[in-house]
Symmetry: C2
Subunit: 109 residues, 2 copies
């Protein structure tokens, strides 16, 4: 097992408030994706809806994964005005959220 | 934005019980990683400790990401005897767990 060089993954799980329309969710996801163009340390972004069958999703419906090269890059992202503006909008529609960051140790790719 | 072809990510966030020793956690992670060798639909595995600074980790300390090609592959994995044996051990030491599966829509890689 070896640690992937220079990769820190920033994982967000979210459940949106019941009154959040699908259009609003789409708008938020587009704004999230656009941060890649605005914030230099954010190198990649992907997302998806939960399709789990284990019934252990604890209500979370969406997963967002952003890639950074360093934890300092995540700190820079967190503090960036474009992120702060987005985060205010996102958190206003979020019922539940979990954020974890990790440096992946890769077993097989 | 396009959906990554034939990839389903299986994300597990875990917090271990307070009495779980570091040795026990290491043993569980090795057993988890070894499932790649035992269960055909499981194509890759990576993991890491939470290093987040946002204080939204909700107590979760470890992240595990497994890669599958289909949701059917995850169902096959879930039902595999090697996984069932591992899951019993893992869940016995878990204080909190979230499992989500998603087909990533990639914005930039």
């Amino acid at each position: 097992m070896e640690e992937a060089k220079g990769v820190v993954k920033h994982i967000v799980l979210a459940k949106f408030k019941d009154d959040t329309t699908p259009d609003k969710i789409e708008q938020l996801i587009k704004a999230y994706a656009n941060l890649v163009n605005l914030i230099q340390p954010m190198k990649a972004f992907q997302w998806g809806k939960d399709v789990s069958i284990e019934n252990l999703h604890q209500g979370f419906t969406h997963v967002f994964e952003s890639i950074f090269e360093t934890t300092e890059g995540i700190a820079e992202y967190d503090a960036h005005p474009a992120h702060l503006e987005f985060a205010n909008l996102f958190l206003a529609s979020a019922d539940k959220i979990v954020i974890v960051n990790y440096k992946p140790t890769v077993v097989r790719c």
